[in-house]
């Protein structure tokens, strides 16, 4: 009976490991999708009006206690599944402009609040994810002056084993 349980536990672990899939700009580490994403990223950032912040810099800002609003643009179900950056709020955005609605715009403006001079950091899943770009652009268009897009998103944050809120 004990051998049976050992077998079952091992089989379950194997299934869990095989079932685990990594996500990111190129989960298989292929250069071509990374290159395509880089071109798109550069296009998006050009003339966007927002600034960029990297993973380590953002962690430093948090450690220093810098006053800012962090917005996750992932769907609430993804925030629940993958966790969120500390003290972040949700302002879910669609993946493409084609899916963008007035309700989405109202949602992110509500998440950003009324102070248009404060630092706002906006993120999504990973570099190729455009939800954060769409959200950051809406904020810039509505007069927010210190909007930072954090491209690495929740995947990079996980990669560095930085604290998350679940």
């Amino acid at each position: 009976m004990r051998i049976f349980y050992v077998f079952v536990v091992n089989a379950m672990l194997l299934v869990a490991l095989v079932g685990c899939n990594s996500s990111g700009t190129s989960p298989k580490g292929l250069e071509v999708p990374i290159e395509k994403a880089a071109f798109k990223f550069a296009d998006d950032v050009k003339d966007s009006g927002y600034k960029l912040v990297g993973t380590e810099e953002l962690k430093k800002w948090l450690d220093e206690g810098r006053k800012m609003t962090i917005i996750s643009t992932l769907p609430a179900t993804d925030d629940k599944a993958f966790g969120t950056l500390p003290s972040s709020v949700n302002g879910a955005m669609p993946k493409t402009e084609k899916e963008l609605t007035q309700a989405d715009k109202d949602n992110i403006l509500k998440a950003a609040g009324s102070d248009k001079e404060k630092t706002i950091v906006i993120y999504c899943g990973f570099v190729a994810c455009r939800r954060s770009h769409i959200g950051a652009k809406i904020l810039v268009e509505n007069g927010f002056q210190n909007v930072y897009r954090y491209p690495g998103g929740i995947t990079a944050w996980h990669e560095m084993s930085y604290p998350i809120t679940k």
């Binding site: 996500s23 992932l74 190729a128």
Partner: protein
């Protein structure tokens, strides 16, 4: 040991009945989807539809294929099964709802189809599926997103 012979077939029967019910629900739901024959949970690997070649993007739960000229996006899970269908194409419909209809008309139809309000006002849910209306400032539906909640 004494009950093992009775319990195992009973568990198998329950499992099979559950699978069968779920499949029937999925089939019934898919019958009401009229988007280039794309069906939720299908493992058809769409790379081209009606001559329109897809562009692929990664996402946290798998990958998405966008057919820009058709105004259709298909989301696949890591298991290569379709978990999301988004359409803005007015020749397509879901549960009798077409892009271009008013929000009120769409709401009426989706409630009649057995969905309930999930995230007000535009997301509706039934079983393990959600349907979100993409609504513009004039309260007209310009797109529909059907997603698996699994």
């Amino acid at each position: 040991m004494k009950y093992q012979k009775k319990i195992i077939p009973l568990l198998l029967l329950l499992l099979l009945t559950g699978c069968q019910n779920r499949r029937m629900q999925d089939d019934k739901m898919n019958d009401q989807i009229n988007v280039f024959d794309i069906k939720l949970f299908s493992d058809v690997d769409y790379k081209e539809i009606n001559g329109v070649v897809a562009t692929e993007e990664p996402c946290l739960r798998g990958y998405e294929r966008s057919f820009d000229k058709l105004d259709v996006i298909i989301g696949y899970g890591f298991n290569h099964k379709i978990r999301k269908i988004m359409t803005r194409n007015s020749t397509t419909s879901m549960f009798g709802i077409k892009p271009g209809m008013t929000y009120e008309e769409g709401k009426q139809r989706i409630l009649q189809a057995g969905f309930g309000v999930d995230t007000p006002p535009y997301t509706f849910r039934a079983n393990k599926y959600s349907l979100t209306f993409l609504v513009n400032g004039k309260k007209a539906i310009f797109g529909l997103t059907l997603e698996s909640l699994d």
